[in-house]
């Protein structure tokens, strides 16, 4: 399997990625209350159509996207912002059987590549996106533009 498969995330041409985005892009940010409807969007069921499943939060000053990626090393993960598109791609490798292993009793963990793209709302700061891996959890912070952050307005007594 030395050939690069069409799914190899690092083999892709960025312009081709943009071409492909229209059909595979998630628009999870579109439902964020600050930008469209009023109140948080909820889904009736758990699960995602694409790996990895993500959770999205509003921290006030930023959107925070989290994904469980156990065993994915930082060097095997790529986070890109191109225009208003945020893309997470990478690969997860599971350890091959150790030298001298005589039996495999369970092999549930899966290795492979993944790629998921999100359309960002117009009102975020793409330069300020931060990503970190914390014990196998990807935490992506997508800051809002300062003018969009909610601020508390002081009520003055007359």
């Amino acid at each position: 399997m030395a050939d690069r498969s069409p799914f190899d995330p690092f083999a892709r041409d960025p312009w081709q990625i943009l071409d492909n985005l229209r059909r595979e892009m998630d628009q999870i940010f579109a439902g964020a209350p600050a930008f469209s409807s009023f109140g948080p969007r909820t889904r009736p069921t758990w699960g995602a159509a694409v790996f990895p499943a993500v959770n999205l939060y509003d921290s006030g000053g930023a959107f925070v996207l989290t994904a469980e990626l156990p065993g994915v090393r930082a060097e095997d993960l790529r986070v890109e912002v191109t225009g208003n598109v945020l893309r997470i791609q990478g690969r997860r490798e599971v350890a091959p059987p150790a030298e001298g292993a005589v039996a495999v009793h369970r092999a549930e963990r899966r290795g492979g590549t993944f790629s998921r793209a999100f359309e960002l709302p117009a009102d975020i700061d793409p330069e300020g996106v931060e990503a970190r891996l914390d014990h196998g959890v990807l935490i992506l912070r997508v800051p809002k533009r300062p003018e969009l952050q909610s601020r508390r307005i002081e009520v003055k007594p007359v």
Binding site: M1, F7, D8, I28, G31, A32, P33, P40, W46, G47, A48, A49, V50, F51, P52, A53, V54, N55, L56, Y57, D58, S59, G60, V64, T66, E68, L69, P70, G71, V72, R73, R91, R92, E93, V94, A95, P96, P97, A98, G100, A101, V102, A103, V104, H105, R106, A107, E108, R109, R110, G111, G112, T113, F114, L133, D134, H135, G136, V137, I139
Partner: protein, 135 residues
Amino acid sequence: MADYQASTSLEPRQKAEVEREGSRPEPRFRPDVDILESGEEYIVYVDLPGVDERSVDIRVDRNLLTLDARLSVRPDPSWQPLLTEYRLGGFHREFQLSEDIDASRVAAKLRDGVLELHLPKSDRHRSRTVPVQAG
């Protein structure tokens, strides 16, 4: 056998919930594992995303291995959830191995949310090579 080539595209999978006890506020999930065996030991890999070194409890009793893990990487309580594609909770799993483990020599390592366990077989279970002498 797992695919070690890392050339396939990963598919999303639902986390399997362990039966919840009444007093538990949060679900616990059944982590994915690989279990390998050699003549001297069992090697176990466990996916534990969001679990740090202080939050794993490994118990070995003869040939019974019990894993419990609490979630330590959590969203800040002040964050407002907008979308939840996966659920949060700890992990729990038990295994009965075919041979007894030498609990005093168990080694555990946690990296990038994956626990690697080395469980040496107790001496009487270790397979030995018996030299055959020429007669």
